[in-house]
């Protein structure tokens, strides 16, 4: 067989200075790296009076710099950036990040470094907060050696905080809700019919919010009903079976007002207005005086209710 028809003959090859390449840094870059090891950013004064950062022996016009070092930053401004949706092995961060040119306060030129703007999924588009002009500061490593990587990365200035907020209570359900939940503890859903308008309100509440009159006429309604409207939720909830889950308004048969509950047993994208559902009760031995006796509502498989039949309950 001629050689051209065989598999290509290939081999791995590495070009490397084992342990790294040793370089002298000279007095100017050496001063910068020494200050950096101490956690300070310094630039050098140029002959024309500007501050070159990071320092070099000559400025961009080829003029030798002075021997005056100027502390700059640590705060700085992003003058340009690029966004890396998929970091490469050689990159300083292993999740999406930005490269940025950063001009520290007091300097006239900018430094290239990595900018960490938070945690993103691989492949993410650049966040809206990432902008030319944004304010940033360096995050120094605890152990510094005198290297540009003594700065782990830059981070945006603080513009938002999260504040704990919590107060504790002991709530009494009150007369009407206690009566309703007593019913639920026996597997019954109770409402009140209004003497004036005739509508049935579930849960019962002891008054008609439309007519403003007390109600006492107790009615038991079915645990079957119709979805009037619903929302697909993508934020996890301990009561919901999965994400995404559906919360829906359900018009129980015999009631005139819909009840907010979870819908399960069906993919979120197949739930629809007018869908018939039935309560999925927990095992009786787990029942208490709580709506949690009903895990959620599940489809009955009956035909959907036409929109006209529910349009007044939305």
């Amino acid at each position: 067989m001629p050689s051209s028809e065989k598999e290509p003959l290939v081999a791995d090859h590495v070009l490397e200075f084992p342990g790294g390449y040793t370089r002298s840094v000279g007095p100017v870059i050496g001063r910068f790296l020494t200050e950096l090891r101490d956690g300070r950013l310094v630039g050098v004064r140029t002959a024309s009076g500007g501050v070159l950062f990071p320092p070099a022996e000559y400025d961009a016009d080829g003029e030798a710099v002075t021997d005056e070092y100027v502390e700059v930053g640590p705060g700085g401004t992003v003058t340009s950036w690029s966004w890396v949706p998929r970091p490469r092995a050689t990159h300083p961060l292993d999740r999406p990040f930005a490269w940025a040119l950063i001009r520290p306060d007091g300097a006239d030129t900018a430094l290239l470094h990595a900018l960490d703007v938070g945690t993103f999924e691989p492949g993410a588009d650049p966040p809206k907060s990432l902008r030319t002009g944004m304010r940033v500061r360096p995050r120094f490593r605890a152990e510094r050696t005198g290297s540009i990587r003594d700065i782990e990365c830059f981070r945006p200035d603080v513009t938002m905080i999260t504040v704990p907020s919590r107060a504790e209570y002991r709530l009494n359900a009150g007369r009407a809700l206690t009566r309703f939940l007593d019913g639920v503890s026996e597997g019954r859903l109770l409402g009140h019919r209004c003497d004036v308008c005739g509508k049935v309100y579930v849960p019962l509440r002891g008054l008609c919010p439309v007519d403003g009159v007390p109600t006492t006429d107790e009615v038991e309604v079915a645990d079957t009903g119709t979805v009037t409207t619903f929302a697909v939720n993508n934020i996890p909830d301990p009561r919901a079976p999965q994400v995404p889950f559906v919360s829906a308004y359900i018009l129980l048969d015999g009631s005139d007002i819909s009840l907010l509950a979870l819908v399960a047993g069906i993919d979120a994208d197949r739930v629809r207005m007018g869908m018939r559902v039935k309560a999925a009760w927990k095992p009786r031995e787990e029942w208490g005086r709580t709506m949690e006796n009903i895990r959620w509502f599940e489809p009955t498989g009956e035909p959907d209710v036409p929109f006209d039949a529910i349009k007044d309950y939305l």
Binding site: L33, A60, S82, L101, I148
Partner: protein, 341 residues
């Protein structure tokens, strides 16, 4: 007063987007053979090449390439660790001496064997830049961002990519790349189609002076101006939205009234920055070959720009054209060559 020197011949490989199983020397050899046959020359007054040892990861890999030229008895030869366009510049300077009349210039690059984005990191300042590991595309994207911030749109970049790829499909030497698709960012704001493709290839040019040029070609492309300028390496001291060095080189080379310009733009935004810096009028045909966005055999790409620009004159289809080459991160170093019938 400079001596009249012309591009009298140009040859290039049919570039490939993947490893075709050839070494750099094997890529180059047919191009050298072709250009020797085209000019009838076997020996040249001077030979100069441009290549990058880091592409193959082998020191002095450019020396092996001399086997393709035939260097015995010893020839007068030089090499630049740069794009072949700078080898052409050195050859042009050498021809100014007046004692030799012909020069062979070539460049070659096989980028498919390593990771070009990281290999290009090795050219960076070892104190402030290289330790951070910024790759070539990440740095180019910083310049693209600065360009967009100066009042341009991402759609402008896409238009450059679309036009370049369409032109490349019509060029038998360039890659066959599809129209830009709706892809995510490679490194924002650059998308994959805004970046030159990985390419293997080689190219060669023959320069000749005065009457020798007229003997070798019916339509010599005379070098009317050639100049190259460099600016600071540190990206933080430059205005990345413009290219001062390209503007300066264009001015010195007399880049006016050209009909065709071949620009060494490895990223979409670079073409737009260069157009502005060189001062190209709207009616100038830019990168009719497809340019580097359609084929980027590193270290030959700049030389090909001059070769393509010369070919318009060789074919008698243009009177005044321009070839440009770039080197270093974010268009740090620019060469402009103005050619005339």
């Amino acid at each position: 007063m400079s001596r009249d020197v012309a591009v009298v011949a140009f040859a290039q490989t049919k570039h490939t987007g993947e490893d075709a199983g050839l070494t750099e020397v094997e890529l180059l050899a047919p191009v050298i053979t072709e250009i020797k046959q085209a000019t009838g020359l076997n020996r040249f007054g001077f030979t100069c090449s441009g290549s990058l040892d880091y592409l193959a990861g082998a020191p002095f890999s450019f020396v092996s390439a001399l086997d393709t030229v035939g260097a015995w008895p010893p020839i007068s030869e030089s090499h630049v660790e740069m794009d072949g366009a700078w080898a052409l510049y050195e050859a042009w300077v050498r021809l100014q001496h007046g004692d030799v009349d012909t020069a062979l210039v070539y460049g070659f690059g096989k980028t498919s064997q390593g990771s070009l984005r990281e290999i290009m990191t090795l050219q960076l300042d070892p104190y402030y830049l290289a330790p951070l590991g910024p790759d070539q595309v990440s740095l180019a994207a910083l310049q693209a961002r600065a360009f967009l911030d100066a009042g341009h749109k991402e759609d402008d970049l896409r238009a450059v990519a679309a036009r370049s790829r369409a032109a490349g499909r019509a060029n038998p030497y360039a890659l066959d790349l599809p129209d830009p698709a709706d892809e995510g960012y490679e490194v924002a704001p650059l998308r994959p189609h805004d970046c030159a493709p990985i390419t293997d290839g080689a190219a060669a040019v023959v320069l000749a002076a005065g009457d020798r040029a007229r003997e070798l070609s019916g339509h010599p492309a005379w070098i009317r101006g050639i100049d190259h300028r460099i600016e600071a390496h540190s990206l933080g001291v430059r205005d990345l939205s413009r290219s001062e060095s390209a503007a300066l080189a264009a001015g010195k080379a007399g880049a006016r009234d050209v009909e065709v310009a071949e620009l060494h733009a490895q990223f979409s935004h670079e073409e737009l920055i260069l157009r502005e810096a060189i001062g190209l009028a709207d009616d100038v045909r830019v990168n009719p070959s497809g340019g580097p966005l359609a084929a980027n055999p590193v270290m030959a790409t700049g030389l090909i720009r001059i070769g393509e620009a010369a070919s318009w004159i060789h074919r008698g289809e243009a009177r005044r054209t321009l070839g440009h080459a770039a080197s270093g991160p974010c268009l740090q170093h620019n060469l402009v060559c103005v050619l005339e019938a």
